[in-house]
């Protein structure tokens, strides 16, 4: 018991203050692709079809970008550490229309999350899991992952939606009480990502018409990005 207290004392508080979502992001982080750094004519190098073949805008669809850097010069320098924001419409990932700045870290309200892995590689799950760690501690914003869809406000979907998870997705969504919404977390859930056009997947939530979706690309979206998107969901549900 004494050793536990001693270790706790020595570690101190590592959770950042309430206005901040998490630890500082290093400058080398692969947050988003910088359009001007993309090698001209690199569209063929993109494994997911996120780049346009012509026109002035190099990036056609942030919802397809897996941040691999194959379109960048050797060494793959050309990322900004800023994470991609959550988009209100699937189309906004193409036109780059980020939502108005969310109420970051604002206290008040709560949001109960049901997590559904629809074929993710596990990286998105780990980043959501990191939110529960003391470095982020999402419970301080009134957020929590619940054990039943009946208790949930938002369905967090990761992965490209596999054939086998399609039915589970529908049933989970039906079991949730209104008002409710979906957070498509990660590029796979937005568009299928690198798993697009497989016999076993359905290209993410792109064609899904079950209800309102917030779109968060990233491979994986870092914990701060997921937290910010969840807070945006909280605001949106509060308004409804």
């Amino acid at each position: 018991m004494l050793t536990i207290l001693k270790k706790r004392w020595k570690t101190g508080v590592i959770t950042p203050p309430n206005g901040e979502l998490g630890p500082k992001v290093p400058a080398v982080a692969r947050g988003r692709l910088v359009s001007s750094r993309v090698t001209p004519g690199a569209a063929a190098a993109c494994p997911t079809g996120a780049l346009s073949r012509c026109g002035s805008r190099a990036i056609k669809d942030y919802g397809r970008c897996i941040l691999c850097g194959n379109c960048l010069p050797p060494g793959r320098d050309g990322f900004s550490p800023e994470w991609l924001p959550a988009f209100a419409q699937r189309e906004d990932c193409r036109t780059w229309t980020p939502p108005a700045a969310a109420a970051r870290g604002k206290a008040g309200g709560s949001l109960q999350i049901r997590m559904l892995d629809a074929g993710s590689c596990n990286a998105c799950e780990q980043e959501l899991g990191a939110l529960a760690s003391p470095a982020y501690d999402f419970q301080r914003f009134g957020l929590d992952v619940v054990a039943s869809p009946r208790h949930a406000d938002v369905l967090l979907v990761s992965g490209p939606v596999t054939r086998m998870m399609r039915q589970a997705l529908e049933r989970t969504w039906e079991a949730m009480p209104a008002p409710k919404m979906v957070l498509a977390a990660g590029t796979c859930a937005v568009s299928g990502g690198i798993f697009r056009s497989s016999y076993a997947t359905l290209d993410g939530l792109e064609g899904w018409e079950g209800g309102p979706v917030i779109w968060l690309p990233g491979c994986p979206p870092r914990p701060q990005a997921i937290l910010e998107a969840l807070l945006a969901c909280r605001e949106k549900l509060r308004g409804s």
């Binding site: 050793t3 536990i4 270790k7 020595k10 570690t11 590592i14 630890p23 290093p26 080398v28 982080a29 692969r30 190098a45 494994p47 897996i66 691999c68 850097g69 194959n70 060494g75 793959r76 049901r114 997590m115 559904l116 892995d117 629809a118 074929g119 993710s120 590689c121 596990n122 990286a123 998105c124 780990q126 980043e127 959501l128 899991g129 990191a130 529960a132 760690s133 003391p134 470095a135 992952v145 039943s148 992965g159 490209p160 596999t162 054939r163 086998m164 998870m165 039915q167 589970a168 989970t172 690198i194 798993f195 056009s197 497989s198 016999y199 076993a200 997947t201 491979c219 994986p220 870092r222």
Partner: protein, 498 residues
């Protein structure tokens, strides 16, 4: 590659001979070779133990007679591999004790095999209502059936568990997995080998680097390439960092499974510190985009100060684990829970920490060295208990060994280049690469087509043999202990399902 081609009818005899020489099943791959031959190629790769190398046995299955003798009577560990071949290639293993579907989705049409070359990539049969999966029936007075999943109560990947219990005692568990099957192997086909790397590192987010290195090594073996010493040392560094964050996570998860919040919170805190180190070094918390065939994509961003940070982390971890090891009520909770016998671990071909916790002394880093492990002193801890406590202790000891390896790697990091060109690879030539991931042997088997494109890619990760062993460790335990036992294996669904 040490490969012998045998006729289908001689297969079992040859395989039996390998078993007598102490061979262990390493991977299995089926491949549609009707393009240049008269049927399907079947490859069984065996490890011959420390210093013994590998032996591959290949046979041809005629398209007109699409059956083959199951090797499960000799190597039981091949049971899921052969069911997978049946599902995805349509070759029937004769004499297999459990020929039910394994990988294919429940609503998949009969007679359609996605890994055959005449199944076009991107084709999606129409969605229909799923058939009921034929679970093994369990009967008797007072037997309850408890279905769990595929969606779970927390942040857990998808899979279904069918328990049969009398009171709280589990009498059988059947795991129906492959809910996360994404068709990765088909998606890889036809891609250029460099581009396929982006797919490979997304097979699994928590052993991404292990997959990437195994895949790269398969190609390098095929092209007879030697990566520069600096690239080899940095690959080992990244692989050990991956082991470190996974083991810290798993120790925390075992604590969480017993409700010991001190260990759970410190585990997640320390894991986060390693993820931050990964990002500082490579720009990515899970090391995506770091490994390329032929070496590394770039020099690490910030090696300065890394050794000091790791030393501080080691001390921090030392203080944390001392509390866990000293806590008898916690240790007592792990003891005798979820025991996997040495005999079962051997029979089912269990790998990694789960095998070493059941007294099976195997580690690819020592037995078949790759990257920079050949010149390093790799300590391989072994426990005999086979219970949750043994799997916990294995990880604790491996964390200590990993810190030592990292220190050794960083004090003596070779200078020089980090990448060599891959060149033109010989087409249709089988090759494989492997790593000891945080969960055990991770094997990538490949055939390439002309123009350095993937022809066939089979991935057998550590979770593949280990998932089949979990039900054996669970039987006889209490239902509420299942999460703890499951966490002590900490297997990956994404790795298994692909």
């Amino acid at each position: 590659m040490n490969l012998i081609r045998v006729a289908k009818a001689e297969m079992l005899g040859v395989v039996r001979g390998i078993k007598e020489r102490g061979g262990v099943l390493f991977t299995v791959c089926g491949s549609d070779e009707r393009l240049w031959d008269h049927g399907f190629g079947l490859y069984y790769v065996f490890s011959l133990g420390k210093g013994g190398g590998f032996q591959t046995v290949a046979t041809m299955v005629d398209a007109a007679d699409a059956v083959f003798p199951s090797v499960t009577s000799v190597f039981e560990a091949a049971h899921w591999d052969e069911r997978e071949i049946q599902d995805l290639l349509g070759l029937v293993p004769l004499g297999h004790l459990d020929p039910r579907p394994l990988v294919r989705p429940d609503d998949w049409p009969e007679g359609l095999f996605p890994l055959r070359k005449d199944f076009p990539a991107g084709e999606r049969p129409p969605l229909v209502t799923s058939r009921e999966y034929p679970f093994t029936p369990v009967g008797g007075e007072g037997v309850f059936q408890v279905p769990v999943g595929p969606v779970h109560a927390g942040i857990i990947e998808s899979g279904h568990f069918r328990f049969h219990a009398v009171g709280e005692r589990i009498i059988s568990l059947e795991a129906r997995l492959f809910y996360n099957h994404r068709g990765v192997e088909k998606l890889a086909e036809g891609r250029e080998v460099e581009e396929a790397m982006f797919l490979v590192e997304r097979i699994c987010g928590s052993c991404s680097c292990s997959h990437a290195v195994a895949y790269a090594q398969a190609l390098e073996e095929l092209g007879s390439l030697q990566v520069p010493p600096r690239a080899a040392a940095l690959r080992s560094t990244y692989l050990e960092l991956e082991r470190l964050y996974n083991h810290l996570n798993d120790v925390g998860a075992i604590c969480a499974g017993t409700g010991f919040s001190f260990g759970a919170v410190h585990g997640s805190r320390l894991k986060e510190e390693v993820l931050a180190l990964n990002e500082r070094l490579t720009g990515h918390r899970y090391l995506f985009g770091t490994i390329v065939p032929g070496g590394l994509s770039r020099e690490p961003f910030g090696l300065e100060g890394l050794a000091g940070d790791l030393a501080a982390l080691r001390e921090d971890w030392g203080e944390t684990v001392a509390v866990l090891l000293d806590n008898e009520s916690f240790r007592e909770r792990l003891r005798d829970t979820g025991r996997l016998s040495r005999e079962a671990a051997r029979r089912l071909g269990v790998v990694g920490p789960a095998a070493r916790a059941s007294g099976v002394d195997r580690d690819l880093r020592r037995d078949h060295p790759y990257a920079a492990y050949g010149r390093l002193e790799v300590t391989v801890p072994v426990q005999q208990g086979g219970d949750v406590e043994a799997r916990f202790l294995i990880r604790v000891k491996e964390i200590a060994a990993t810190f030592a390896l990292l220190e050794e790697l960083l004090t003596d990091l070779p200078a020089g280049g980090i990448r060599v060109p891959l060149g033109e690879l010989p087409p249709y030539t089988p090759t494989f690469g492997y790593t000891e991931s945080p969960r055990g042997a991770n094997v990538h088997f490949l055939l390439t087509a002309p123009g350095n494109r993937i022809y066939r890619h089979r991935v057998r990760s550590a979770s593949f043999p280990n998932w089949a062993a979990v039900p054996f460790a669970v039987e006889g335990n209490m239902l509420p202990d299942f999460p703890l036992i499951n966490k002590s294996f900490e297997l990956c669904y994404a790795c298994l399902d692909r």
